[in-house]
């Protein structure tokens, strides 16, 4: 069964920069974000779909006006994140089983809303575990992410380098 996993725009940006956004298609996961967050995105190379039943790209969900109203109410409380980030959090809470984000504030708020939070390591483990990429490539990609994106995004997750990726790195050494 395919599960919906929300992805915030930073994660789209970061995973796209290291060439991993096409790798999830072999997983039983459908990545979702909102049109509000993605609408002005500058990532034309990212494969997307706007049809709920269609496969082959990140599903860009358009919230209804009523839902936008609920996001607005939510944004009045969550001033620490942007309105567009609120749309993703809202969608994650309502339609998805989890969210992929490395943004510390988003992680905290998602957790407070009871949303399962996955970081980039989880994503790498999934695609490496499914054999889409090798463990050593996953390790390399993790390092690439650390050097190509804002290091502060890794502040909370640096300590828990996954055992499997760590093992892969040790084998390589």
């Amino acid at each position: 069964m395919i599960s919906n996993v929300a992805i915030d725009l930073f994660a789209v940006r970061d995973l796209n920069r290291v060439g991993l956004l096409t790798s999830f298609e072999g997983l039983n996961v459908r990545l979702c974000t909102t049109s509000t967050a993605f609408g002005r995105s500058m990532y034309p190379s990212v494969p997307v779909t706007v049809m709920p039943d269609e496969e082959g790209g990140i599903y860009i969900m358009t919230l209804s006006t009523d839902e936008l109203e609920e996001v607005f109410e939510m944004s009045m409380t969550y001033r620490e994140i942007s309105f567009t980030e609120c749309t993703v959090l809202y969608m994650a809470a309502k339609y998805c089983q989890a969210i992929i984000t490395a943004e510390p504030r988003m992680c905290k708020m998602a957790a407070a809303l009871g949303i399962i939070v996955h970081d980039y390591k989880w994503f790498l483990e999934q695609i490496a575990g499914s054999g889409i990429i090798s463990m050593t490539t996953a390790w390399d990609k993790l390092h690439e992410l650390k050097t190509k994106v804002d290091p502060s995004l890794f502040r909370d997750s640096n300590t828990g380098i996954s055992f499997r990726l760590q093992s892969a790195a040790e084998v390589r050494i």
Partner: protein
């Protein structure tokens, strides 16, 4: 205000900022909705579908977040001390841009749990004539510890003392503006483009005078402007300092001297000459002669090294602090800074 009302007012402001009529906006979005719908959105009677919200934001070059930000700031009526060519329509546009910047500034301070309380240190002074201005400037220099050697960084000093300084891009007909946001938070707005550092410093202090000085009710507006200018000059170059540098009486001052003083004190050659005349160091004849020589280039590139630099940095500092302490998300930081996500992250990595 409800979401519809906030959205409507924001849409109206954004359309005006873009200088578009409702018809032009409809054309810009390819007729996606009718003019009557735009009118209803702007009146807060109807909310567009999400797709239209996104199209309008993109067409008006505003972030989605802008349209859903509650109104938290009111500023007193906009009385731009600028050249007369700034019409009421453009004044309103500028006001809208300024209010938006102040809203973000105050929101950031709130997120950092900072108190914007401000107490006017010159509250008890009433200005009747030029001598009062000189005394007020001297008192402020003492209270703010600027010393008698001139001010190193004017904008930084204002920000350190509770005055918010915002820089915007504007045409030549806008120099500066000051007001109390929500009746209590002093704000100065400066033009950052096509402006010399010396002029920016002088304008900042001129606006400071408008914020801090209480004038005798019989003083006309034009005279107030002159007194505010004098205050700015006196802050940048206190009387004792100018006497020390130039002497009590001069029959000639060279461009070389003006250039050295301009570089040392960050005050324009023109303002030095005006100040020297106000303090009776030079005659009216020499004052007119020097001004005509200086005015051959309004940017004064022919006088001094023109290497000085001054910029408002407090907002950026607060933004970096909030981000590095994890108090706001990167998306929020981008929204407050008015940048795209990529621009924000590029800035962060560039500065590292």
């Amino acid at each position: 205000m409800s979401m519809k009302e906030i959205y409507g007012q924001r849409l109206l402001n954004a359309r005006k900022q873009a200088g578009l009529s409702q018809d032009q906006l409809v054309a810009l979005i390819g007729g996606k909705v009718k003019k009557t719908s735009i009118a209803k959105y702007e009146r807060g009677e109807m909310m567009p579908e999400t797709g239209v919200v996104e199209t309008l934001a993109e067409s008006l070059n505003q972030s989605i977040d802008y349209f859903f930000r509650p109104f938290t700031v009111e500023i007193s009526s906009v009385e731009f001390r600028a050249k007369s060519s700034l019409g009421s329509k453009r004044a309103e546009n500028l006001k809208s841009i300024i209010v938006s910047k102040i809203e973000k500034y105050l929101e950031l301070e709130k997120l950092l749990s900072m108190n914007p309380d401000f107490e006017n240190p010159l509250d008890d002074i009433v200005i009747h004539e030029a001598g009062d201005v000189e005394n007020a400037a001297a008192r402020l220099c003492t209270l703010w510890n600027t010393g008698s050697k001139g001010m190193g960084n004017v904008i930084g000093m204002l920000e350190d003392n509770g005055i918010k300084v915002i820089e915007i891009e504007a045409d030549d007909d806008f120099d500066g503006y000051s007001a109390y946001a929500n009746g209590e938070i002093p704000v100065i707005v400066l033009r950052y483009n096509r402006n010399t550092t010396e002029r920016k410093r002088l304008t900042a202090l001129h606006e400071t005078a408008h914020l801090l000085l209480g004038f005798d009710k019989n003083i006309a507006d034009a005279e107030k402007e002159r007194l505010c200018h004098r205050f700015a000059g006196a802050m940048l170059m206190p009387a004792a300092t100018l006497y020390r540098e130039l002497g009590q009486l001069r029959s000639l001052i060279t461009h070389r001297e003006l250039g050295l003083l301009k570089d040392k004190y960050g005050i324009s050659a023109k303002a030095i000459v005006v100040r020297a005349y106000q303090l009776n160091i030079i005659s009216k004849y020499l004052y007119i002669k020097l001004l005509s020589e200086i005015n051959t280039d309004k940017y004064e590139k022919h006088i001094g090294s023109n290497n000085s630099y001054e910029k408002s940095i407090r907002f950026e500092m607060l933004l970096s602090r909030a981000l590095s302490e994890g108090l706001i998300s990167h998306g929020k930081a981008a929204e407050l800074a008015g940048l795209s996500i990529d621009e924000l992250l590029n800035n962060l990595t560039t500065n590292d």
